[in-house]
Structure formats: C-alpha cells, structure tokens
C-alpha cells in the first residue's frame, strides 16, 4: 500500500490501471483534463496507449475501436463533452461493448462555469443516447479514494454486463487533493474490496442471445470468428435486421441483463443515522453528501431525528431504499432538482419530498441545519425570484 496526497484524477488513473485498463482516449476539458494528463504519463509506463481524439465523440469512438480489438478502455470528460458521447454511447450499449466513462460534473448548461462543481447530468447519465430500450449503470463516488474504488468497480461491472459504465463525479471529487491509499498487490486489492474481471473473447456464432444472461465475453474482432457488430438492430448472430421481433429480443436483453442482476451492485449506498426510522431522510450523491453527513451529525447533536442516505449506484435507481413513509429532502448541485424527481417517484404515495439546490458551490452546513429544522416543524422552504427568501 502506498499513500499519496493527490487529486481524484490521480486516484481514478491508478484505479483504472489496477482494473487492467490499457487504453485511454481523451480530449482536454476542465475539470477532467488532469485525468487525461495523468493517463498520458502513466499509460506508456504500463505498456498502455494514451491518445487524444479530435473531439469527445472521436475519443469515445477510438475507445470503442480499441475495445473491439480486446483492450479494456476508458475516457473522461465533463458535461459539454459528455453530450458528444451520445453517438458512440448508444453504439456501445447496442453492441454490448464494455468501457468506462468518467464525467466530472461542472456548472451548466453548455460551457457554464468551467471550474466549479455541478450535478446537472443526473438524468443525462440515465439517457446518454437516443432511442431508449436500455438500462445504464452509473456510479457516483464522493471522494478521491472512493473514485479509485468506483473506477475499479466500473470496469468490473462493464465486463460482466458487457456495457458502458459511467462514473458520475463532480469537479470537487476529481480536482480535490486528498489522502489516497493505492494497493500494490492483489491481496491488498482484495482487502480493500476491489473486484476485477478479465477481458474475454467471444467466439460466436450467437453474439446477442435473447436472454438476460451476463458474464458473456464481449465481441472482439480480429480473431476470425466471423464476429459482426453494427449500429442496426442485430439478429442473434449480429446481422442487421428491420424485424420488430428481433428488436424486441435485443431490447429485452439490453434492459433486463441489468435489471435482473442488480444484486451485483445494490450494496453501493451509504446510510448515516438511519437505524431509528428518522423523521427526515436527506438524500444526496457525490460531494454534497459530505456536507450533508456533517449537517446530519450536527442535527443529531441537537436532538433532531435526521438521517442521511447517500446513493453510490445511481442507475438503475435504487427504489428499494425509499420504502419508508417519512419526509425526504434531496440535496443536489443544481437549481432545477433532478434527483428529487426520482425520489418522488420512488417513495410511498403520501411521503413528503423536498429539495434544496445549489450550484457551483456546496451548500453550507448552517443552511442545511436551518432547512432540517423547518421541515421537521412542517414549515415550507419558500423561494422568491432568484433569491431564497428564506430556508
């Protein structure tokens, strides 16, 4: 084990290398540039390839090409680059190509504020491409150390499910300097709970079985197996077809291979003061959860019965964590409220759900405590114009 005072970008790089990633295609974008730089430095050292795409769309396509040749691959970006992934992301989902994407959230829309944290792509990571008929897997770490762990986990899930996995971080997770422990042996990796899965080669002829089976090796070209993959709806052998029944089978596979094996990642959440059925459950993911945890701890010291639920696997959404009838508060780094909508959908019918947003900056502990107090007294969190009238 080696300890570093380093950034989340460094941690993700080391995590990717531990997971067996040997190909990274990047494109400079704040705040994920340092990850590309770290990869450019580290990849050749481990006999891996770093390459820069002409844009993010090309970067992810380069990754797909290398994955089709047998590499474990990764790319990283922020919101304005993530939208350019829409094209290749769908292709990778449809052709069931394992790969890992890191999205370091900044303030949007468009270029917005480049060097400040945001969480505007909660829903976009669920629907990163057009067409529907698929499930996506998304993980959201809240620290540099966890970003490394979730990178290793993302590669593991990508291989087993044969699909792209997005790590939805934010600027503070990737840019922030923290204490990081990097395992150096397989035993240390195991002790830290890191799971890995080897890259396999599919030898056909049925590449897209109409089942929810996982652990099928992905298509790898160049071994003369007659492998076929395309952007069209495939037959089970990979031929393009316009048949709706073939499409139904393919869609079933893309949706239910993930939905039916959620046990593989359903343990990825964190509960704080949640054992005594709290009157208020504060829901968050990523960096805001660290403020929430502090605020909840302080609230408990004041005698308020508040608990915190942090989501690490965001998609498929963990509905099972929202069965209790209580009051929920979603704390997010956006002003429009994205996670809160999903919480509203998942909770029992008459449960109350509230929202506190901020963007570019974290909420203050004092602000959250004020909000907790109001909600527990049944008072509204009012708002007038762009300014908060009161919390």
């Amino acid at each position: 084990m080696k300890r570093y005072l380093e950034t989340g970008n460094f941690a993700v790089t080391e995590g990717a290398i531990l997971a067996g990633c040997r190909f990274f295609a990047g494109y400079p974008i704040t705040p994920a540039t340092e990850l590309a730089e770290a990869m450019a430095y580290r990849m050749p050292q481990v006999d891996g390839i770093y390459i820069q795409g002409e844009d993010e769309c090309a970067a992810l396509h380069l990754c797909i090409g290398a994955a089709l040749g047998g590499y474990k691959v990764m790319t990283a970006t922020s919101g304005p680059g993530y939208i350019l992934y829409a094209d290749p992301y769908g292709w990778a989902i449809g052709c069931e190509i394992p790969l890992v994407i890191l999205n370091s959230g900044r303030v949007g829309p468009v270029s917005g504020i480049t060097g400040a944290p945001g969480q505007g792509e909660f829903y976009m990571t669920r629907y990163p491409t057009q067409g529907g008929n698929f499930e996506t897997i998304v993980l959201a770490p809240n620290s540099a150390q966890e970003a490394m762990a979730m990178t290793v986990e993302a590669f593991y899930l990508a291989e087993r499910f044969r699909t792209p996995v997005t790590i939805l971080a934010d600027q503070l997770v990737t840019d922030g300097f923290e204490d990081i422990s990097v395992p150096e042996t397989e035993e240390e990796m195991k002790a830290m709970g890191f799971r890995t899965w080897p890259r396999g080669i599919h030898r056909g002829p049925v590449f897209y079985p109409a089942t929810d089976e996982i652990d099928i090796p992905p298509v790898v070209l160049g071994h003369n197996t007659g492998a076929l993959c395309s952007d069209w709806t495939p037959t089970e052998e990979g031929y393009d077809t316009e048949e709706v029944v073939a499409h139904h089978k393919h869609a079933y596979r893309l949706i239910f291979k993930v939905r039916n094996h959620r046990d593989l990642f359903s343990h990825l959440y964190e509960k704080t003061f949640m054992d005594d059925d709290p009157d208020l459950v504060v829901v968050s993911f990523g960096t805001p959860s660290r403020v929430v945890n502090t605020a909840v701890k302080k609230a408990r010291e004041k005698g308020l019965k508040v608990g915190a639920l942090r989501l690490i696997h965001l998609w498929p959404f963990p509905d099972e964590l929202f069965k209790k009838k209580t009051t929920y508060l979603s704390v997010e780094l956006n002003w429009d409220g994205q996670l809160v909508r999903e919480v509203r959908r998942a909770v029992p019918k008459d449960a109350e759900v509230h929202f506190v947003g901020s963007c570019g900056d974290l909420p203050a502990v004092a602000e959250l405590l004020e909000a907790f107090g109001k909600l527990l007294k049944g008072q509204p969190l009012a708002r007038k114009g762009w300014e908060l009238e009161e919390w």
Binding site: F23, L62, G222, G226, Y239
Partner: protein, 282 residues
C-alpha cells in the same frame, strides 16, 4: 455466385438488397478482385462499413469479422481498432460519400493526418440515396435531387478548382485515387496499390444510382442512361475534356513514405519503456 463471392462473401448477404441497376455491386466486385489478386485470405482482413447505401449493402457481406460504425465515425473506430490489431491485419472500410465527405470529414481528416493503416473505399452515389435522394457534397452543381428540386446550387467538392482528394492529400493521406464504376481493371489496380500502402489509402469510386439520381436528374430509372451519363463525364487523368467531372486514376501516391500511426505509437511506447528500464524504474 462467382468464385470471388464463394471465397470471400457470405451467401446470406449476397445478392444484397440493393435496388435494381445499382452500381455498388460493381465497386464491391472490383474490391474483391483486388483482394484476390493480392493473395489475401478471409482472416487477413477486418471489414468496416458505415451508414447509407454503401455501408448497409456491404455490412456483413465479408466472411470474416466485420463492423458497421455510427454515421461518419467509422474512421475513429477504425483508428482505435488499428491500435489494437496486429499490424499484418488489414482494415478495409466501405463507406459512402455522405459519410466520408460530410458527417465524417473531421474524423477522416484526422485519420489521414495520423496516416493510420486503413484502406477506405468511398462508394459515391452523388448524394444521400438511402434516404430517398438528397444532394450531398459531391453532387455535381445543377443536379436535381429531392432536396435540390431546382438544381444543386451550392459550392461543393467537385466545383471548379476544388477537390476533396486535395484536402485529404494535404491532410496527410499517403494514397489517393479516383475512379468510376466502369473503370474495371484500372480501379482494381488502384485498390491493390491502396491496400498495399501501409498508411491511409482512400479510393473514391463514383457509381450510378438509377433509382434516385437517374429518376430525378435524368428523368429515367433506366440503368444504361445513368451509366452512360457517368461514363461520359469521366476521363483518365491527363485526358480530361472540358466537360469532365471525374478525372480518374491515381491522384496521389506517397505509399510507405511516412511512419504509420499504430507503428509510431508502438515505437514511442517502446522507447519510453526502454528508457525507464535503463533508469531501473520498471
């Protein structure tokens, strides 16, 4: 099926679902003939295609491994694949004019810049024909299509003094040729040179589309009419007439003149690792 189809193509996909009179099959056959004359086998080649008539009709026809990329991005995918495959594996792409010269031009230019070892055959039916016939970037000026009912009036890649092959030459492509479907053995020879070049090769082959170009521009779906229309406007380089649209033959041959993309990267990584070994860091 002839001996080339039996040797290289999948019976399930041949004949293709192309329209009656389509010239794509002639281009496809010229390519098969070139592969055959070079003595290449099914396992020597990974095949990539794009979207549109040229992409869809050739996807899955090759007996070996194959893929069809997203529209215009197949050059980026192929570059990634080039880095992963051993150098002796050939990557051949059959794409359309809209894919290569429209939506994919950025990626194509960067493939040329990096001199990735790819052989790209651009099958040019003079516009977007699988969507019913809209003008593209090589549609001759004045030509009528469903999106240019009064004749195509924009400047494009075949306007006077402009040539997409010139763009690609200066972007760094090491082999460039242009033909029309009717060129037969001359096209085969160019394709052979293209495949033999260890770098980016592009062969642009104009082919007739009786269904859309024929019906809208020439007023008939008669195949012979559009075959003659293309043939009469093509001439070998050096023998152009005033009405020649397509000067055919090898446009630029700098085969094997500069390092290939994947080879340079491999060498670069190798030298970094040797240096680190020297410094006892590995």
């Amino acid at each position: 099926m002839d001996h080339l189809s039996k040797k290289y193509l999948r019976p399930r996909k041949i004949p293709s679902s192309a329209c009656s009179g389509c010239g794509l099959g002639i281009n496809h056959k010229a390519l098969m003939q070139a592969i055959y004359e070079l003595g290449l086998e099914v396992e020597d080649i990974v095949w990539g295609t794009s979207i549109g008539c040229a992409g869809r009709q050739t996807f899955g026809t090759w007996k070996g491994d194959g893929f069809a990329g997203t529209h215009g991005r197949v050059y980026a995918i192929a570059r990634g694949l080039r880095l992963a495959l051993p150098p002796e594996k050939k990557i051949i792409l059959t794409v359309g004019d809209g894919d290569a010269f429209g939506i994919g031009l950025l990626h194509l230019i960067h493939a040329a810049r990096s001199n990735a070892d790819l052989t790209i055959v651009v099958n040019d039916n003079l516009g977007y024909m699988s969507t019913g016939g809209q003008y593209g970037w090589t549609t001759p000026q004045g030509t009528k299509s469903d999106s240019s009912p009064y004749g195509m009036y924009e400047h494009n890649m075949v306007s006077d003094g402009m040539d997409i092959l010139g763009v690609l030459k200066h972007a760094g492509a090491t082999f460039l040729a242009r033909h029309v479907s009717m060129d037969g053995p001359r096209a085969v020879e160019s394709i052979k040179k293209g495949i033999a070049n260890r770098g980016l090769s592009l062969i642009h082959i104009v082919y007739p589309c009786p269904t859309n170009v024929g019906s809208r521009e020439l007023g008939t779906r008669d195949a012979v009419t559009i075959y003659n229309w293309i043939k009469n406007q093509a001439a070998p380089i050096g023998q152009e007439r005033s009405d020649t649209l397509w000067a055919t033959g090898v446009y630029h041959d700098a085969s094997n003149s500069r390092p290939e993309f994947s080879e340079s990267i491999r060498q670069h990584i190798g030298s970094i690792r040797r240096q680190r070994l020297h410094e006892n860091k590995i």
